[in-house]
C-alpha cells in the first residue's frame, strides 16, 4: 500500500500542478473579463483612461522607437549578409518587413511595455494593496476593479496596436538604414519588395497579436499587484516578488500566445 502511495505521489504532484495552473488561468481570464466589462459601466471613466494611455502609450514611444530602430537595423544587417551569399539582397525589404510585422513588432513591443509599464503597474497596485488603499476604495463604495484595473485594460488595448505599428514603421526604416544607407542596397528595391510582399493579412495578424498581448500583459500585471496580499511574503518583499512574477509570467505568456496565434494565423 505504502509502495503504491510512493509510486502515485509524483503523478499526483504533477496533477496538482496542472490543476493549479488551470485554475490560475481561469482566475486570470475571469479577472480580465470582469475588468473589461466594467470599462463600459457608466459613467465612462474617460479621464482615467486618458491618463493610462499617456502612461502606457505616450511614455513608451521613445523606448519603442529606440528598440524598433535597432531591431530593424540588426535585421537589415543580418539579412543582408545572409542574402548576399545567394545574390538575392533585393529580398531584404521582404525579409525585414515580414519578420517585423508578423513577429518582431508585436512581441518586442509587448516585452518592452512589460518592462516599462507592466512592472510599474504591478508595483503601484501592489503597494496600494499592502497600504490598504484598495480596502479604502471598498469602504468608500468605489469598485477597485473599475477604478484601478478597467482603465488600464482599456488603455492597453488601445496603446498596444498603436505602439506595434510605430515599432514596425521605425523598424522598417532601421532596416533601410543598415541595408541601404550603410551597405549600399538600392532603396527602391528595399521599399518595393517590402511593399509587395506584405499582405493585409500580415498586418491584421500583427494587430490581432498585439491586442491579445495587451490583454495578456495588462491582466497578468494587474492581477499580480491586486492579489499581492495573498502571497506568503508580506509587505515590500511581497510587492517585489509580485513585480518579478508579473514580468516573468507575462513575458513567457506573450511568447507562448505568440506561438499559438502564429499557428492559427499562418
Amino acid at each position: 500500500m505504502a509502495i503504491l502511495v510512493t509510486l502515485k505521489s509524483p503523478v499526483a504532484a504533477i496533477g496538482r500542478e496542472v490543476l493549479d495552473f488551470t485554475q490560475h488561468l481561469g482566475r486570470l481570464f475571469l479577472f480580465f473579463v470582469w475588468g473589461f466589462v466594467l470599462i463600459f459601466q457608466p459613467p465612462f471613466q474617460f479621464d482615467k483612461i486618458r491618463q493610462q494611455i499617456y502612461f502606457i502609450g505616450m511614455k513608451s514611444v521613445f523606448v519603442i522607437c529606440l528598440t524598433g530602430a535597432f531591431t530593424g537595423m540588426v535585421l537589415g544587417l543580418q539579412g543582408y549578409y545572409a542574402l548576399v551569399k545567394y545574390g538575392s539582397t533585393a529580398a531584404l525589404g521582404s525579409a525585414v518587413a515580414l519578420s517585423l510585422i508578423r513577429e518582431m513588432g508585436p512581441v518586442l513591443t509587448a516585452i518592452m511595455v512589460i518592462a516599462r509599464a507592466g512592472s510599474s503597474m504591478t508595483a503601484e497596485i501592489g503597494i496600494m494593496r499592502i497600504s490598504e488603499q484598495i480596502d479604502a476604495l471598498q469602504t468608500m463604495d468605489i469598485n477597485p476593479m473599475r477604478y484601478l484595473v478597467s482603465p488600464r485594460i482599456a488603455a492597453a488595448l488601445i496603446c498596444f496596436p498603436l505602439l506595434t505599428a510605430l515599432f514596425d514603421v521605425v523598424g522598417l526604416y532601421g532596416g533601410y538604414l543598415s541595408g541601404s544607407a550603410l551597405l549600399g542596397l538600392n532603396p527602391a528595391f528595399y521599399f518595393a519588395r517590402a511593399q509587395s510582399s506584405v499582405q493585409m493579412i500580415d498586418i491584421v495578424g500583427g494587430f490581432i497579436k498585439s491586442v491579445v498581448f495587451a490583454a495578456v500583459v495588462v491582466t497578468v500585471c494587474c492581477f499580480q499587484g491586486y492579489y499581492t496580499h495573498t502571497r506568503a511574503e508580506f509587505g515590500a518583499k511581497g510587492v517585489s516578488i509580485s513585480t518579478t512574477s508579473a514580468v516573468v509570467i507575462s513575458c513567457v505568456l506573450v511568447l507562448i500566445t505568440d506561438y499559438i496565434l502564429t499557428t492559427f494565423l499562418l
Binding site: 459613467p43 503601484e124 503597494i127 496600494m128 497600504s131 490598504e132 488603499q133 480596502d135 479604502a136 471598498q138 469602504t139 468608500m140 463604495d141 468605489i142 477604478y147
Partner: protein
C-alpha cells in the same frame, strides 16, 4: 424604554489562516454613541471592525443592521448600507498619488451625485474645519503623521456618514496630537451625531470620549459596558489589561491619571471616616475648549489645556492631588481643607492665570471669549464619592474669564 442597537454582531466567527481570530463575538453598537473596542494587540480588533463595514465576511454567525441580517440584504440594499459608513484606517490609507484635496474629494466625486462646484465647496469646508486648507495641494508623503490623520478624518467625514469606524486613530502620535484627535472625534460626533466605533489602545484617554466600551480577548468580547464600569470590573483579564496599559500619569498634562486620582480620593474618604480629617474637592472645567478648537484648531486647544493643567499643578501643595477627570476637566483634592479654604485656592489659581499668558496667540483673536469654571465641595461623613463630585459640579461657577 429599551434601546435597540444599530449594529448587532451575533456569534461572529472568523478564521484567518490557522488562527481563529474571532471566536463567537457578540457585540451591540448603539445609534449616536461612541463605542470603544479595546484589547491586546493581535486580539482581532481591526478584523472585527472590517467585519462591521463588510471588508471581511464572517465564517459563522450573523451581523445585523437595524435588526436586519446583512447576509440577507439584496446587493442594492448592501450598497445603500455601505454609503452610510466611513472608515478611518490605522495607517490612514491615503491615496499617495492624489493630493490632499483630491483625496478628500474622491468619495464625493466617485458617487457622481454632486456637481464639481458642490464637491469643491464641501471639500474646502471640511479642510477648513480641520485646519488643512493651506496643505490642500500637498501630497500625503509631504505631510506629518498628525496631518495625515486629519486628512484621513476629513476624507471619512466629507460624505456625512451615519457610522464612522476608527481603527487606532491615534497610534504613533504625541500626547498633544493624540488628545487633539480624540477631541476632534468627540467634537465631530457631537456636531454631526454619527455613530462611532473606535478601536484603541489609549487607556484611559479613550474612556473620556466613549459612551460604551467593549473589550476583545482571545476572539471573544469579555466586557461590554460604560467606561466607568470597566474601571470597576473585577474579571481578571479585564482588570489586568486596564491596569497594565494605564499609565500613572496622564500623557497630555503630566498630572495623575483618573484611576490614581480616584484611589487618592477614596483614601481621603477613609481618613475622613476614621479620623474626621476634612477635605474638599475642586472641579475645574475649561468650558469652551470646543471654541478654541474651532478658532485655533485642536492642537492649540490641547496645548492650552496642558498649560492650564501646569498652572493648576503649580498652585497645589505636595499633599494635594490633582488628576484628569474628563476631556476638559481637572479634579483637585485638597486634604485638611474646608470649603472656604478651597475657594481661596480657586482665587489664587485665578491670579496665577491672570499673570501668565495662558492662551498665547488666540487671546488676540477679536471677539474671542474664554472661561474656566470651578465647583467646590467639602466631603462630609456618610457621603459617597459620586455624590461629592456631583455636589462640586452643582456649584460650578466661572472664576476666570478672558474677553477680547
Amino acid at each position: 424604554m429599551t434601546r435597540s442597537p444599530l449594529i448587532q454582531l451575533r456569534d461572529v466567527v472568523k478564521t484567518l489562516g490557522a488562527n481563529r481570530v474571532l471566536d463567537g463575538v457578540n457585540l451591540d453598537i448603539y445609534r449616536g454613541e461612541i463605542t470603544a473596542i479595546i484589547g491586546k494587540s493581535g486580539s482581532g480588533k481591526s478584523v472585527l471592525l472590517k467585519h462591521i463595514i463588510g471588508l471581511h465576511e464572517p465564517d459563522g454567525g450573523a451581523i445585523l443592521f437595524d435588526g436586519r441580517l446583512r447576509a440577507a440584504m439584496s446587493p442594492a440594499e448592501r450598497k445603500a448600507l455601505k454609503k452610510k459608513f466611513s472608515y478611518v484606517f490605522q495607517d490612514t490609507a491615503l491615496f499617495d498619488f492624489l493630493n490632499v484635496f483630491e483625496n478628500v474629494a474622491l468619495p464625493l466625486k466617485e458617487r457622481n451625485a454632486l456637481s464639481p462646484a458642490e464637491v469643491s465647496r464641501r471639500v474646502r469646508d471640511k479642510l477648513h474645519q480641520l485646519d488643512l486648507h493651506d496643505v490642500e495641494l500637498k501630497y500625503p508623503a509631504q505631510l506629518s503623521g498628525g496631518m495625515k490623520k486629519r486628512v484621513a478624518l476629513a476624507r471619512a467625514l466629507v460624505t456625512d456618514p451615519e457610522i464612522v469606524l476608527f481603527d487606532e486613530p491615534t497610534t504613533g502620535l504625541d500626547p498633544i496630537r493624540k488628545n487633539a484627535v480624540h477631541s476632534m472625534i468627540l467634537d465631530y460626533q457631537r456636531r454631526f451625531g454619527f455613530t462611532g466605533v473606535v478601536v484603541s489602545h489609549e487607556i484611559p484617554d479613550i474612556f473620556f470620549i466613549s459612551q460604551r466600551v467593549a473589550m476583545l480577548d482571545e476572539g471573544r468580547i469579555v466586557f461590554e459596558g460604560g467606561p466607568e464600569e470597566i474601571q470597576e470590573a473585577v474579571a481578571p483579564e479585564v482588570k489586568n489589561f486596564i491596569q497594565g496599559l494605564e499609565s500613572p500619569r496622564d500623557d497630555l498634562t503630566g498630572i495623575a491619571s483618573q484611576s490614581i486620582g480616584q484611589n487618592r480620593l477614596l483614601q481621603e474618604m477613609s481618613r475622613l471616616q476614621r479620623y474626621q480629617i476634612p477635605f474638599s474637592i475642586v472641579l475645574l472645567a475649561m468650558d469652551n475648549l470646543e471654541d478654541v478648537d474651532r478658532i485655533a484648531g485642536h492642537v492649540v486647544a490641547q496645548t492650552v489645556f496642558k498649560t492650564f493643567a501646569n498652572h493648576v499643578t503649580q498652585s497645589t501643595y505636595i499633599t494635594d492631588t490633582c488628576f484628569r477627570f474628563d476631556i476638559n476637566k481637572i479634579l483637585v483634592a485638597l486634604p485638611d481643607t474646608n470649603e472656604d479654604q478651597a475657594r481661596d485656592f480657586c482665587r489664587k489659581l485665578a491670579r496665577t492665570m491672570q499673570s501668565h499668558a495662558l492662551f498665547g496667540s488666540i487671546e488676540a483673536v477679536k471677539g474671542f471669549c474664554y472661561s474656566v469654571s470651578a465647583g467646590v465641595a467639602q466631603a462630609k461623613q456618610g457621603t459617597g464619592l459620586d455624590d461629592l463630585i456631583a455636589a462640586a459640579g452643582q456649584t460650578q461657577a466661572v472664576f476666570y474669564e478672558c474677553r477680547n
